[in-house]
Amino acid sequence: MTKKKLGLQSKSRRTILSALAATTGSAAIGFPMLSLGQNQSLRVGAYGGYFKDSFDKFIFPVFTEETGIVVDSIAEPTGQAWLAQLNAAAAAGSAPADVSMIAQSPMLKGQKTELWMPLDESKLPNLKYLMSNFVHRYPDGRLDGVGAVAWYTTLVTNTDVYPDAPESWDELWNPENKGRLGLLALVSNSFLLEIASKTFYGSTDLLDSEAGQLQALEKVAELKPNVALWYRDEAQFEQALKSGEIPMGQYYHDVAGLAAADGFPVRSTFTKEGGVSDSGLWAVSRASKKIEESHIFMNFMCRPDIQTLLSRMVGTAPTVPRDLLDLTDDEFAAVSSSSEPIIPRYDIYDQRGDWLAQKWSEMIVA
């Protein structure tokens, strides 16, 4: 709507500018002015690599076609580097991206400096479809993020080495698997404390107290002899899993499924304790000027048909309930599971992140 209104206002002036830009070859100077009038645009940060490429290919074109808003996608680094960049830029009054894909713990960190623009719920009618764990708020209740992408970390095995699928995460602790595991290297991305708590102590409530956290750390320390590789980069482990060099470990359900579909002897299992459900949110830097467009974008991303498209084409787990989706059983199983997931305790990494990271490093380096 607004797009059309803006578009009509200064048509003649724009045409002249456009002609000028074309003839003088000063497109670089002309373009920013043009983009204000003719095309609305939005700079969207997405994790560089697979996610950004897939969004560029399957999702952003649909959005642009429907709304006329051109998406300028920006490859953002994973981890916390993007948070630091956004934060430094916001302090200087600029935003390297308007909307960014932000993982849960940087989301909480950004709240401390009011980095995220509070969102207007009246402009997000599709918010009602989201499952509650994909609606992110400031402690005082202001909305600051909506679910962007979700994925599962599961127990993966090489089918040549393990003909039968494992049933429980406790296989990671099985002495027969000495030197056979590939696990994520950091406390805040492996979520092994949560896995240990759920598997051996019934729930992640164990992690409520420091004593419980230490107990879970001790439990994780027990599986160290089984670990061949503590990895930070997916590619490091994926290769070894496919070849059987490191035949068991934790990995991303969707990527393992893609490898299996390509014919590699790889299997991803939702154990009886559940897979670990992790996710990223869309959030807007407070320095962004594209408030209207950002809301249109986020509202679009919450729609069930777009979530269906995401699951089908990008391989992410949907952020809306299963019954709203137009996915076959196989398509749903490829990206998600109806079994109860292990939800990471982002709160403990927020409150005691440095302490946990230090204890974790000491544990695995020892």
Partner: protein, 282 residues
């Protein structure tokens, strides 16, 4: 060092340029890092400007002492091995004809164009159980069962040595080719074995270059991040890995800066120590 001084002391421009370049690319970034290292980390958040030494106090602990010892130990060892291999290689190159030398130089320089990731992946495959020497040795009957040699200390040391060798050759090549052949020949005529001639004549004449090459290799390997995480077990993760973890994964920029400052100061002190020892013996 002294030779370059006299060679370049032809006007004020080189000196000005060197000062500006050093200032721009070393002192300014270092000053920013130093400033950040005193900032306050907000628990569960990012950082705020402050002046506190907490970040430095934190690594006065057995944990970080161990990491520092492992990093410097591992990199010294890799540099010494690279120096040994690189010296022998360059010595033989210096005795080849021009064509042979050029071919070897091209080969070694092209190694520098490979990224650390590619080098790391190649070595991890070579040291693997399923496709590397662990499997071959089993096939040849040298091992009872196929085994993986990576991740492990040997694999990491090999790869670090590998990336350092081209630097050693590049530093050693000019002095070794300029060394008059007659010197070695004279030693041989006086009855020295080839090995003895090299040790007593060649090595002392190029000692400053050897030390420079060692320092270069040491600093370079100390900065390696990819190889330790790909080929090392957690106890072999160097201080660079821990700095990256703090900066990228924990968003603890002040502590990462403090660790980096500490690493630079340690490296500079080691260099100063080596130079001092060198001056004493020459």
């Amino acid at each position: 060092m002294k030779k370059t001084d006299s060679e370049f002391r032809s006007g004020p421009i080189p000196g000005v340029f060197a000062t500006v370049a050093l200032g721009l690319f070393f002192f300014v970034p270092f000053a920013i890092m130093l400033t950040f290292s005193f900032y306050h980390k907000i628990p569960g958040g990012l950082y705020e400007p402050a002046f506190e030494v907490d970040n430095y106090l934190r690594f006065i602990s057995p944990f970080f002492t161990q990491i520092l010892l492992i990093s410097t130990g591992l990199c010294s060892l890799a540099s010494i091995l690279a120096l040994f291999i690189g010296f022998i290689l360059t010595y033989f190159m210096s005795r080849m004809n021009k064509r042979g030398r050029t071919l070897w130089l091209i080969l070694l320089v092209s190694l520098l164009s490979l990224s650390e990731v590619i080098i790391g992946f190649s070595w991890s495959i070579l040291f693997s159980r399923t496709a590397g020497i662990g499997g071959w040795m089993y096939t040849l009957g040298l091992l009872d069962a196929p085994r993986a040699f990576a991740p492990g200390f040997g694999a990491l040391l090999t790869a670090l040595t590998f990336i350092c060798v081209p630097f050693i050759v590049l530093v050693m090549f000019p002095p070794l080719t300029r060394l008059p052949k007659e010197w070695v020949e004279s030693a041989r005529m006086l009855g020295a074995t080839p090995l003895r001639a090299v040790i007593t004549v060649v090595v002392p004449s190029v000692r400053p270059a050897l030390i420079a090459a060692f320092i270069l290799a040491f600093i370079y390997s100390l900065g390696s991040y990819v190889l330790p995480i790909m080929l090392g077990k957690p106890r072999h993760w160097t201080i660079s890995v821990h700095i990256t973890d703090q900066a990228l994964y924990q968003a603890n920029i002040p502590f990462a800066s403090a660790l980096s400052v500490f690493l630079i100061v340690t490296a500079l002190s080691l260099i100063a120590l080596i130079s001092k020892l060198q001056n004493r013996f020459t």
